[in-house]
Subunit: 474 residues, 2 copies
């Protein structure tokens, strides 16, 4: 064996006593509500010794949990209290809105100290949310190495692979053998990233030649050359690829990690699967939030800011509701004559809205996961229209009978049945069609589909029902 | 060096020529629509040589893409065509609904052949969706080892860690040294799982003592004992833990893998982070789908089955819409007198529904991610009620002025303003309160919150507006 490995200490050796923590069930995962209220009590009592002790006992994820769950005032108190030395690793764990608020209240040098203790990707994630001027103040106080990493990182587009990647990776020349690689890793143990499970193989120009998982190295002969151990297919990611594409690629190809390259195809970073999990969460969350007209981080936002962001979406909805009311007003004479129309008309509109939302949700998700493209686009729209038609016929019969019995008028039954069929066909067609059309036009289908859809189903619902009534009933 | 490593061939050596595949942008990831239509054309022409050639060239994810995007008929044609030898790895890649349909059309022995070629976790995932009787037929045709794995796997609850885990892992006794471990891995190269990045450390009773990432082994001295290299905190997962809890744990603690143990705390399997990604997708998808009343796999479901599953949800909605209509009918005399009420009433109901959905979506997501618990429950409900009140006041003023001008009646303006404030307060309160209440009662908040919410906002909207009108206007 090489004797280099004898000189070196190993950071892994610091953790000598494994503590078995068995999670029996859901309730034992995470910080209990009891533990939180104990700490909050200590905070309120001003008993700083107790609360410091309690907080110092917490793991990083538990500390983040605590910060999330206490109220704004307690949170400020806890974060500003300079006697509490929070582990810097806590900050990347926080919800971006909470993290931003916490760091924005601190001095630039305090933030710089936190940032300096983190990996470059976590540091970048924290700093990219802050105000431009504050960013500059902070970077001035960083070490040259970290400053370069941050400044370079900020040149990549937001939500791109360049922002997501870590600069800590292990790259080995292609002509090295397994034995030389193992000897090098023993010798350089302290300089290696704290965790990695793949090695990137490069040529002398720093072009990526391949990727080798550590387990392939461990089971190979010492004389084996690394280039013979690489995967069949290499997936390199350009730094400016959008993070949504990156997650798609990871999921699709089942990747554990992938090297990131610059425009000259040179290695500049590494994205690992655990970075991807956060993005997947983020993207799924974004879709569900956008469909309902809510912005992310809403849970931790101040009341006035939440009210404002919700107001904008509701205002657009008010305009569409008024448009629907104008349609109704065109038939005011008819309604005055047959008041049953006013009673029944919300049913037609509401069924259209709900049926349309079903089709819309399926289409928005399928677009997000790329299961929907040109090939099956018309088939999906066609299917949704047929489903709408079939359910339209079903509910036309049910509602036609109910209306006829309720108001003792067969004609009224036929009128609402006709309107129901029309609105559910339109609902299926536009529920699937609107998101597809928006995505073709380069818009985000999750963002405005719902408003457009309910406008259509409201207007068609009211116009169809009242229009048919004005022809056949009055 | 040990000479054992000289005896052995290495599966990794099979892949000698790395093919660099650089993804320039989104459009190059995945199968193009052009490629799909080429294959479909060949299928339709009956030119089996061409379509076999085209399909055999595809990677596993591309093949899955193709199968997803062609229509039902082409899909059946492709899957039943026995000349097409699809890579068995394709099946676990398919949407569960598509996979189930494909396998259900095959003979038990054909399915058994596919299953036998897969890892035990993938095999279990495929087989658990099939009919009970068909399952039995298939397992009878499997090798003893795979049969035991499947039968044992099926004893764990659905969506539990036991179903998710793989039985392929590397477990090493705690007293082994780094050197002995490396020598063993070289010697046993062919028997090791095809991919792994952590080693599980066990005691003689097969209890888990710790977990060591391969990179810690590679950078340690050969004389180092494995038990000194384990993580500080060990996370073991009981086999019956729900997969949602498992993903929560992985995300929270940033795990790469975790050993699964039986009720005696003995090692029985391993869950890795890439298994988790599928579950995260699944769970996020489930929430968004449930909120809209859609079942998963809807994109690939046959028209009649889709229509049926949508019908049930729409039927519940019809009942709530009729309930709202009954409320309206209580005020038919008032409406007949002031037809403007019929014109304006949908606005109040619709604004309540939308504002409530915003609060509801935030609460449902926060419950799913465990950001919402007893500690902050009342604070969140309180905040949403205040936000509802503030937006209620804003829209009361806007809509009050519009209504007063539109119909030339200040009283009508005040009536709609009053109803708007009431409905938006109730919307905020119940939007946050309903999911929390449902989750306290052990129900799934995503599933029925929307229906309950719109029932409340419709009824309060109509009752508030028409009630106030009947008092002040008539």
């Amino acid at each position: 064996m090489s004797d280099k490995n004898k000189i070196l200490s190993n950071e892994a050796l610091e953790s000598v006593e494994p503590v078995a923590e068995v999670f029996e069930d859901a309730s034992t995962v995470g910080l209990s509500d009891d533990a939180i209220s104990k700490i909050v009590e200590a905070l309120h009592d001003g008993d700083s010794t107790t609360h410091l002790e309690l907080i110092n006992e917490l793991s990083v994820p538990d500390t983040a949990d605590l910060i999330h769950k206490i109220n704004d005032e307690d949170r400020k108190h806890l974060l500003i209290d300079r006697k509490v030395k929070l582990d810097p690793e806590v900050y990347p764990y926080l919800d971006p809105a909470v993290g931003k608020a916490a760091l924005s209240d601190m001095s630039a040098s305090r933030v710089a100290a936190i940032i300096s203790a983190l990996d470059s990707d976590d540091a970048l994630e924290l700093i990219e949310n802050l105000d431009k001027n504050f960013q500059k103040e902070i970077t001035r106080k960083l070490s040259a190495k970290m400053r370069v990493a941050i400044e370079e990182g900020l040149t990549f587009p937001e939500d791109s692979a360049g922002r997501l990647m870590q600069r800590e990776y292990v790259a080995i020349p292609q002509f090295w053998t397994v034995g030389k690689t193992i000897d090098y890793m023993r010798a350089a143990a302290d300089d290696l990233p704290s965790d990695f499970s793949d090695i990137i193989i490069i040529d002398p120009m720093y072009h990526v030649v391949g990727e080798v998982p550590l387990n392939r190295i461990l089971r190979s002969k010492r004389t084996e050359k690394l280039e013979t151990l690489t995967f069949d297919v290499l997936h390199t990611i350009p730094a400016d690829m959008d993070q949504e594409e990156v997650t798609y690629l990871f999921r699709r190809e089942g990747l554990n990690s992938a090297p990131v390259v610059d425009s000259d195809n040179r290695l500049i970073g590494l994205i690992t699967v655990d970075d991807i999990i956060d993005v997947i969460d983020e993207e799924a969350e974004e879709d569900i939030m956008k469909l309902a007209g809510v912005e992310g981080g809403d849970l931790y936002r101040a009341i006035l800011s939440t009210t404002g962001s919700r107001f904008r979406w509701l205002f657009v909805n008010l305009m569409t509701a008024i448009a629907a009311s104008i349609v109704i007003s065109m038939f005011d004479a008819t309604i005055q004559e047959v008041v049953a129309l006013a009673i029944l008309m919300p049913i037609v509109a509401s069924m259209g809205g709900n049926a349309g939302t079903q089709a819309l949700t399926v289409a928005v998700r399928a677009l997000a996961t790329k299961e929907l493209s040109n090939t099956n686009m018309f088939r999906v729209i066609g299917k949704e229209t047929v489903v709408g038609t079939l359910n339209g016929i079903g509910f036309a019969i049910i509602m036609g009978v109910i209306a006829a019995l309720w108001f003792g008028s067969t004609t009224l039954g036929f009128v609402i049945a006709g309107a129901m069929v029309i609105n559910l066909i339109i609902a299926g067609l536009s529920g699937a069609g609107i998101p597809i059309l928006l995505s073709k036009m380069g818009s985000d289908p999750a963002l405005s589909s719902t408003v457009l859809l309910t406008t259509i189903t409201d207007i068609v619902g009211f116009f169809g029902f009242l229009g048919l009534a004005s022809i056949f009933l009055v």
